[in-house]
C-alpha cells in the first residue's frame, strides 16, 4: 500500500483488489479538531460518499466502482481511475487557443455530467475541477462525494455550479471567460427547469457582492 495523494480530508493509497488496480480512500483523524466532531464528520462523509457514488453509477454517470466499504475505519476501497484530474489537465494544457476544439468539448462534457447528476437528484457539494478525473479516452469520472446529499433544492444545484465556477476562475483564470460553455453543456443535459437553476445561480453569485463587509 502506497500513499498516492493527500486530499483535504483524506489519504489516498494505491492497492489491488482481486487483481484489479484500486485505491483506498481513508478519512484519517484530523488532529486539529475536537475528537467528537472529528469522528462524526468522518463517519457522515464516508457514508454520504458511498451512497452517492452508488446512486450515480446506477443512473449511468461515471463514478469509480466501490469494492468495499469499512465504516468503522472510515475507508472506502474503490476502482482506480486511470487519468488525470481536470485541474491538472487544464493547468498543463498546451493548446490555450483551443485550435482543435478539444477544450470546448471537455467543458461541454463537464456541464453535461453535472446536469445529468442533478437530474438524477444528487448534489455534489464540492464540485471543483480536482474532483473530476479525465480518462485517456476523454470520459469524465466524478469523485469525492463526501459533502453530497440527495434531493437537492434549486439553491443546492446553483451552489454546485457556483463552486465549480469559482474553482475554475481561481485556478484557471486564463479560461475563465469560457465558463458559459460549461453552462451550455449543463443546459442540454438537465431535464428539469434549467432557467430556475440559472436564475438562482445568478442570485448566489451576487450574494457575495451584496453583503456588507465591515472590519
Amino acid at each position: 500500500m502506497e500513499l498516492y495523494k493527500q486530499g483535504a480530508e483524506s489519504k489516498i493509497f494505491t492497492t489491488t483488489y482481486s487483481d484489479r488496480k484500486a485505491i483506498i480512500k481513508e478519512r484519517f483523524s484530523r488532529q486539529y479538531r475536537n475528537e467528537l466532531l472529528d469522528l462524526n464528520i468522518r463517519k457522515e462523509r464516508t457514508k454520504a460518499e458511498a451512497k452517492a457514488i452508488l446512486k450515480c453509477k446506477q443512473g449511468g454517470i461515471a463514478t469509480p466502482v466501490i469494492y468495499s466499504l469499512d465504516l468503522n475505519n472510515y475507508k472506502i476501497i474503490m476502482e482506480h481511475i486511470n487519468g488525470q484530474t481536470v485541474n491538472d489537465y487544464l493547468t498543463n494544457i498546451k493548446d490555450k487557443q483551443d485550435d482543435n476544439g478539444k477544450l470546448t468539448k471537455l467543458l461541454t462534457n463537464i456541464g453535461a455530467i453535472v446536469g445529468k447528476m442533478h437530474s438524477l437528484g444528487v448534489f455534489h457539494g464540492d464540485l471543483t475541477t480536482s474532483n473530476i478525473i479525465k480518462k485517456e479516452d476523454d470520459t469524465l469520472v466524478l469523485i469525492d462525494f463526501g459533502l453530497s446529499h440527495f434531493n437537492p433544492s434549486v439553491e443546492d444545484k446553483a451552489v454546485d455550479l457556483y463552486v465549480l465556477e469559482r474553482a475554475f476562475v481561481s485556478t484557471h483564470s486564463y479560461f475563465s471567460q469560457l465558463f458559459p460553455v460549461i453552462l451550455d453543456g449543463y443546459k442540454n443535459a438537465y431535464e428539469l427547469d434549467v432557467q430556475a437553476v440559472f436564475n438562482q445561480f445568478q442570485n448566489v453569485r451576487s450574494r457575495g457582492r451584496k453583503r456588507l463587509m465591515i472590519g
Binding site: 481561481s170 456588507l212 463587509m213
Partner: protein, 335 residues
C-alpha cells in the same frame, strides 16, 4: 524611497501608520470600546474617530520621527466598511493630501490586510484566510487578482463570536473575541453544534441562533459552563475555517497559509491551522495583534505598493464605498 502614511477607520478601530519602503516607522491605534452586552453603532463610532483622529495623527508623526514634508503619499481606506466611519477618516486624509500637495491613494481594506501579512511574515504566495468582525474569506492569488475561493454566506466569524460574547455579557475590552478565547481555554465539555460547510463556503448564522437559544437552559441547569460553550463554539467554527482553507490549498496545490484579520490573532485558531499545515507539510504564517487587528500601517504599505506600480487616480475617484470586494482590485504590484 517612498514614505507613506495610511489612515484606517472602517470599523471601531482608528489607526494611523507610517512606513518607509516596508519598514514600519509608526503604528498607532485607538479602539472604540462599548459596554458589555452592547455592540458599536455607526454614529457613535464615527464620532469617536472624529474626536480622536487629530491627536492620533500628532502621536503618529511624533513616533515616526519624520517631518510631514518627508511624506510622499497619503493613503486611506476606501472600503469596505461603515459609511460614516470611512468618510470621517477619509475627510482628514483628503485635507492633508491637499495641504501637503501629495498624491492621495484609496485602498481596499481587505487587500491591505493581505499585503500587511505578506510583508510582516515574508510569505510569498500563500492561501489566505481572512477572518475578522466583518469578513470571512479564503483567498488565493491568480492572474492579477485575489480570488475569493470560499466565504461566509451569512455573518462573519468575528461577528458570530462577538454576538455570543454579548449573550454571555462578556467585556468588550480589549475585544469580545479575545474574552471568548480566554474563556474557551477553560472549557472542557463539547456541545455538539451544527457544522455548516457548503462547498467552499461556510455559514455561521444557524450555529449562532442554535447556541443562543440553547445557552440559557444549558447554563441554568449546570449541564454546561459558559467556558464550555465558548470552547464548543470556537472548536466548531474554527474547524470549519480550517477545513475550507485546506480544501483551497489542496485544489491550488499551495504549501503556505497566511491568516490575517482580527480573529487571526486567536491562538487556538493559529494552533489548529498549524496542526493542519504540519499534516500536509505546509507552512503557517500568522501575525500578532499589532498587525492582525485593523491598523493604519497596512493601508500605508498597500498604498505605497500601488503608488510604486504607477497607480494614479483623479480627485473625483477618491470617494469611499461600503461595499468593495477583494476580487475587484487589479493587483498591479504582483506578477
Amino acid at each position: 524611497m517612498v514614505i507613506s502614511i495610511g489612515f484606517e477607520g472602517s470599523a471601531n478601530k482608528l489607526g494611523i501608520g507610517i512606513v518607509k519602503d516596508g519598514e514600519v516607522l509608526a503604528n498607532c491605534r485607538r479602539t472604540y470600546i462599548t459596554p458589555p452586552g452592547e455592540g458599536f453603532l455607526p454614529r457613535e463610532t464615527a464620532k469617536h474617530h472624529q474626536n480622536n483622529i487629530i491627536l492620533l495623527l500628532e502621536e503618529t508623526i511624533k513616533t515616526s520621527g519624520i517631518q510631514p514634508e518627508q511624506i510622499d503619499v497619503v493613503c486611506f481606506t476606501k472600503g469596505p466598511g461603515i459609511g460614516s466611519c470611512l468618510v470621517s477618516v477619509a475627510a482628514v486624509a483628503r485635507t492633508l493630501a491637499q495641504l501637503w500637495n501629495k498624491p492621495l491613494i484609496p485602498v481596499n481594506h481587505c487587500i491591505a490586510h493581505i499585503e500587511m501579512g505578506r510583508l510582516i511574515t515574508g510569505s510569498d504566495n500563500p492561501t489566505v484566510l481572512y477572518v475578522s468582525g466583518g469578513n470571512t474569506q479564503v483567498i488565493a492569488y491568480s492572474g492579477k487578482y485575489y480570488r475569493i475561493f470560499g466565504e461566509t454566506i451569512d455573518i462573519a466569524v468575528g461577528n458570530c463570536l462577538d454576538r455570543f460574547a454579548r449573550v454571555l455579557k462578556l467585556s468588550n475590552d480589549p475585544s469580545p473575541g479575545y474574552n471568548i478565547e480566554q474563556m474557551a481555554k477553560n472549557g472542557k465539555k463539547y456541545l455538539k453544534l451544527p457544522y455548516v460547510v457548503k462547498g467552499m463556503d461556510v455559514s455561521f448564522s444557524g450555529i449562532l441562533s442554535y447556541i443562543e437559544e440553547k445557552a440559557p437552559s444549558l447554563l441554568s441547569s449546570g449541564e454546561y459552563t459558559p467556558e464550555d460553550l465558548c470552547f464548543s463554539l470556537q472548536e466548531t467554527i474554527f474547524a470549519m475555517l480550517i477545513e475550507t482553507t485546506e480544501r483551497a490549498m489542496s485544489h491550488c496545490q499551495s504549501k503556505e497559509v497566511l491568516i490575517v484579520g482580527g480573529v487571526g490573532c486567536n491562538e487556538r485558531l493559529q494552533d489548529m491551522m498549524k496542526i493542519m499545515c504540519e499534516e500536509r507539510s505546509a507552512i503557517l504564517y500568522a501575525t500578532d495583534e499589532r498587525f492582525c487587528i485593523d491598523n493604519g500601517v497596512m493601508i500605508a504599505h498597500t498604498g505605497a505598493l500601488m503608488h510604486n506600480s504607477g497607480y494614479k487616480t483623479t480627485w473625483e475617484n477618491t470617494f469611499c464605498t461600503q461595499r468593495f470586494r477583494t476580487d475587484e482590485v487589479e493587483v498591479t504590484w504582483r506578477s
